[in-house]
Symmetry: C2
Subunit: 385 residues, 2 copies
């Protein structure tokens, strides 16, 4: 006899897994770390205070800024949270690469009256130094550390473990999941092809590694034996329940949090997310030099017109940054990087600019409702779907 | 109090929906119609006799053959089954198009000692006439008729309804689902990007319409209000439960049935399905002139080397057919169209060459197990996932 009383389920977590219990979460929900502005300390803390797992995007931040943002989060919550970094080598682009990239970018800069761009000197200005970021992260002893774009060495995972951090690697296919398992990761984010923002792919070609969440999650769970957090296309309690059915121990949702009140992105980006269609996004490397999924706009289309000019990440990313900052100040979505997953239109079912805590509440309610619908169907009861 | 006793759930369907109850299915499972050989009357009847919904791929068959295959199915089962057609205009390629296509195909034909190819005369030989197929289908009064590649007119849907057929349209995004709803379809197959074989896209560009199942199913269910059958990446009871959580009333599984004993594909295709990786497939139009997902092999790679030579469907499909038939007789997967979804490796968890009825049994058991795991978790019970 399987029996769940309404009062029990109201008191307990809607759905608990070893992962959610480890961090005392009320539902197995991680807020996706989104580099480039959205994840303010206010957003991260709001999610963690709502008993989900908030996540700071540290990738674009200097080590001192990672420390100050982490301190700001800790001032706002005593709950667990995470910090994400991109595993990157130092960029040392040659002049020809930069000049080719600027040949495509300069005409767009002119749109805002910006002068032609120039190589950044010293080259360290293309991106924060990953090793310095990593050392800072170890010192900060954050509850959870996650990594994208590459793989940590075993020794680095061990340093994080010694600092008390739980380590999550990002995988877009099984071989990457096995590499993270062998490096000692505690869990894997399964980044399905639906996901918005940068692809984490670090083994093989990105076009081959666009595996949908439905196919990816069970394969990663079976192959690695580690807790898997499903990401990509999950926007509501239905998607959460689906991911858990596939064998995930939790979900990581980015796009759903992009539209929250605490998310520091321009209003036009939020508006375009809500107005988008399921077919509105493409995966492009033209904006940053690494493949990322976003809503098609003039920025993407004009830079894609000359793929041969696109510099590798982080060079292209740095060279398009001033342009995108101007677009942000002008609230002009035409020249922003409008990162978004394929599930974005599902956000229209919610109020615009919802607080993150209210979103977590709504997801909890929806997950319960989905589970109850399931139990009714499993019991053979009739229902119009 | 929600309560399911073990004896109740053993006696009843594992999970019933309005769709599954309409056809008296023991679980909400449709076997995907797969043109090009796999779906023999034996396979279709085995699935239907196992109380799932078997489906004949009628697209490549002349009207008389659709009638004889349907008769063969009816001789083997008195259960409901379906027939699928591709909605196509008649091909009338000009000579230059055919010559360009053959410039890429002839070197591969030479591999089997075949002479250079030639235009087919009359042009009707490029594909069976859709209108004649459709008239035959109406006359056959099959329980279920489904359509891919295009949209039926309202009057055609009405003819099928008058003949007692339930009508299912294929959609790869919301706008296509709405078009089918407006045409009067009874249900929608949501073809996620993970799915193997031809993309059903008939509005907009295929690369924009590769929406993952996780994102597609809830959007189509919300937008159309019709029963949605989820397809793409679903290989086991976990995937079935996930699709149902997303709001689907059933699933359509193709790749999972490709490896069955009754599936009439070459042994090397079955072997490569089992040996494949999650990243082994690509979507290509080089083999048939329409985008389709299959395992990369020399046939795909060599034809993709000259995309400008590829003729539109069904011309390219017809022109590569003799070559592929020779590959089939030689059991040589290098020159077959190895259609496959991204979930194919999950089939390795099963015995090879399983009977279709045994596969339906296994899926039923797995769906029950997933639902029970769900109920345990929802009840807050501890479990290692």
């Amino acid at each position: 006899m399987i029996s769940v009383s309404a009062s029990q389920s109201a008191a307990a977590a809607a759905f608990s897994t070893p992962f959610s219990r480890r961090f005392g979460l009320r539902l197995p929900l991680v807020q996706g770390p989104m580099a480039g502005g959205p994840t303010t300390p206010a957003l991260v803390a709001a999610v963690s205070n709502a008993l989900a797992l908030g996540f700071l995007a540290g990738a674009a931040l200097a080590p001192e800024k990672i420390a100050s943002e982490t301190a700001a989060i800790r001032a706002l919550t005593d709950r667990p949270f995470g910090v994400n970094l991109f595993v990157l080598d130092t960029a040392r682009p040659d002049d020809a690469t930069v000049r080719r990239a600027l040949a495509s970018i300069d005409p767009l800069r002119a749109h805002y009256g910006l002068p032609p761009g120039a190589p950044l000197t010293p080259p360290a200005r293309y991106a924060p130094d990953f090793r310095a970021q990593f050392d800072a992260l170890v010192d900060l002893r954050v509850p959870v550390a996650s990594f994208t774009f590459g793989l940590l060495a075993k020794e680095d995972v061990a340093r994080l473990h010694a600092a008390g951090s739980y380590v999550i690697g990002t995988a877009t296919h099984v071989a990457e999941g096995l590499a993270w398992r062998d490096a000692g990761a505690d869990a894997i984010v399964a980044q399905g092809a639906e996901a918005g923002g940068h692809r984490g792919t670090f083994i093989g070609e990105v076009p081959h590694a666009l595996v949908g969440t439905m196919a990816l999650v069970p394969q990663l769970a079976d192959a690695t034996g580690l807790p898997v957090l499903a990401a990509g296309g999950i926007m509501d309690g239905r998607g959460m329940a689906a991911a858990l059915a596939l064998g995930a121990q939790g979900v990581q949702m980015g796009t759903a949090f992009l539209g929250c009140a605490e998310s520091a992105i321009p209003a036009d980006w939020k508006a375009r997310l809500r107005d988008s269609a399921d077919t509105a996004t493409s995966v492009t490397r033209a904006i940053t030099g690494r493949h990322a999924r976003g809503i098609r706009n003039p920025l993407m289309q004009q830079l894609e017109a000359h793929p041969e000019n696109v510099a590798p990440y982080p060079v292209q990313n740095a060279l398009t940054q001033e342009l995108r900052q101007h677009a942000a100040r002008a609230n002009d979505g035409d020249y922003l990087s409008l990162w978004s997953g394929q599930g974005a239109p599902l956000a229209r079912r919610r109020e615009a600019n919802l607080g993150a805590a209210q979103l977590v509440d709504a997801l909890d309610t929806e997950l319960r409702a989905t589970l109850e619908r399931f139990e009714r169907f499993a019991a053979g009861e009739s229902s119009s779907a």
